[in-house]
């Protein structure tokens, strides 16, 4: 199993959610985060004093997927989240040691 973590532009969240649902995934975790990569922040002005906002709002999604469909999921996320502008985000793939469904106690692939 793999844990796929994607940091995307917040307004792309719905498109990505739809894209992974189309593949058949039924679970997703979303958090609102802030960060930057090579896309830098911008300068704002408040009552005559300038200040730099380095961090930009992003959405982070986490998906636990079976090895077999990991590539498909990654491609789907990329296609849905890409705008071509700087700041589109990144996807990180890590090995998932174990997954458990709390309600039933199922483990492994049955749990995701």
């Amino acid at each position: 199993m793999k844990m796929i973590t994607a940091i995307i532009k917040p307004f792309k969240l719905d498109d990505v959610r739809q894209a992974v649902a189309d593949i058949g995934l039924q679970g997703i975790t979303v958090s609102e985060v802030k960060g930057f990569g090579r896309q830098r922040g911008h300068t704002e002005l408040y009552r005559g004093a300038e200040y730099v906002v380095d961090f930009l709002p992003k959405a982070k999604i986490e998906l636990a997927v079976d090895d077999a469909i990991a590539e498909e999921v990654i491609e789907a996320i990329c296609n849905a989240a890409r705008t071509g502008e700087i700041g589109d985000g990144k996807i990180f793939v890590t090995d998932l040691d174990q997954a458990i469904r709390i309600r039933t106690g199922e483990i492994g692939t049955a749990a995701i």
């Binding site: 002005l45 005559g48 004093a49 200040y51």
Partner: protein
């Protein structure tokens, strides 16, 4: 009694009722300005300091009402007493506000001299004290100890404000001199700003506001919708502030005067807002909403010294100049490292002075020298006495919160609750 006398009596009673009603409704509008200040300040401070400033604002309003009832009102209006710096000491004993009022017979017999309820006058005046005191709360926001602030409020509303209020509106020496201040650019706004300045100088700037190399760091407000709502509430309340200060409604001349005061008040705010916004756009490159809000308020403060004599166009101009001054003052105070999170000292102090000095532009009875005398004496009295009270508070209980509490937010240290709680265990 014949019909004419009866009718005359009824007209006198009706007139009294109307003018009393006018005081009460205008007073209620000024009371609503407390909501305006509260929302404006809540919007311009950070989330972690919001509950504390809300507490400060509602608390100071209540304290002002109580202190003014206990002794402030009688210090400011000791009765038939012309001139003087402080009331005749023999009248201090009658400090506490009583509940008796004018009888119908007295009203009719007075031939128009007694034209409003005594208690309605108290109500109208008490909300002005509260306004003056609430100016201080914004300037000292985010780093002052709540209870030290409340103790100061007791002194400002119970003594410092009433004494200088007596000088002008209580028929004291400034009134005898011919100093003019229709609704309180000096008596209320400059007074509040002077007290605020004294406090801020002893308090110091918020941590992280100024750098060692002269940098000025922005600390953006947490809720601009609230700040805007607060400004519009103040704008509405100001119709009571200036309109009510005409003090009478019940004949054609007075009714027209009140109408002109409402119009001029509105126009000055409009002029202040537009010109502050334009200046902010030209100077900073962006239309800073907070400057526009301060500009509207500056316009209102500027016209408060004389909202009746100018034409609407002149009122707009006076307000516009106030709007320009306030933007410059906000930046200047930051350069002087005087940290004023909401611009209170600029809006009410700098522009309060402009308001006083602008009176000769429209009112031939005013002279620059007399206005300047009033300006200097009000500022001097309030600033010095406030400095003394703040200094005593600082030396005894301290006026500034711990650095750690300032970092965590005064909501937690002073109020024990958060304005916008996020991590509670409740669902």
């Amino acid at each position: 009694m014949d019909d004419v006398t009866t009718l005359a009596g009824q007209v006198a009673e009706l007139s009294y009722a109307l003018d009393t009603f006018y005081f009460l409704v205008m007073g209620a509008l000024v009371m609503w300005m407390a909501a305006g200040f509260t929302m404006l300040e809540a919007g311009l401070v950070r989330a972690k300091n919001t509950a504390e400033i809300l507490t400060k604002n509602v608390g100071l309003y209540a304290i002002a009402c109580i202190m003014y009832m206990l002794c402030g009102y009688s210090i400011m209006y000791p009765g038939a007493y012309e001139g003087g710096v402080f009331q005749n000491l023999s009248t201090i004993g009658s400090g506490l506000l009583g509940s008796s009022d004018n009888s119908a017979a007295d009203v009719i017999a007075s031939g128009g001299d007694t034209y409003y309820s005594g208690l309605s006058d108290f109500f109208f005046q008490v909300v002005f004290v509260a306004t003056a005191m609430s100016i201080v709360s914004g300037a000292v926001a985010e780093r002052m100890k709540l209870w030290a602030f409340f103790v100061f409020a007791v002194f400002l509303t119970g003594f410092i404000y009433p004494v200088q209020g007596f000088w002008k509106w209580g028929s004291g020496w400034l009134n005898e001199l011919g100093f003019l201040d229709f609704a309180g650019s000096g008596v209320v706004h400059l007074c509040g700003a002077a007290a605020a300045l004294a406090g801020v100088l002893l308090l110091g700037a918020r941590k992280g506001k100024y750098g060692d190399k002269g940098q000025i760091f922005a600390i953006p407000g947490s809720n601009l919708p609230l700040a805007t709502l607060g400004t519009l509430i103040l704008w509405l309340g100001w119709f009571g502030f200036n309109g009510g200060s005409e003090l009478k409604l019940s004949n054609v001349g007075e009714a027209n005067a009140v109408a002109l005061v409402f119009v001029n008040t509105n126009m000055a705010a409009a002029g202040g807002l537009v010109f502050a916004l334009i200046l902010a756009r030209l100077w900073f490159g962006k239309a800073d909403l907070t400057m526009a809000l301060n500009g509207a308020l500056a316009g209102l403060v500027a016209i408060t010294a004389e909202p009746l004599a100018p034409t609407p166009l002149l009122a707009t101009t006076i307000g516009a100049i106030g709007g320009v001054l306030v933007v410059g003052s906000i930046v200047a105070l930051d350069k002087l490292r005087i940290d004023d999170p909401v611009g209170a000292i600029s809006v009410h102090g700098v522009v309060g002075m402009w308001g006083l000095l602008a009176v000769p532009l429209s009112n031939a009875d005013a002279t620059l020298l007399k206005q300047l005398t009033g300006l200097v004496s009000i500022f001097g009295w309030v600033f010095v006495t406030s400095l003394i009270v703040w200094a005593i508070l600082k030396a005894t209980v301290g006026i500034r919160v711990d650095e750690r509490h300032e970092y965590e937010g005064v909501d937690l240290s002073e109020c024990g609750l958060e304005a916008y709680p996020e991590f509670t265990s409740a669902e």
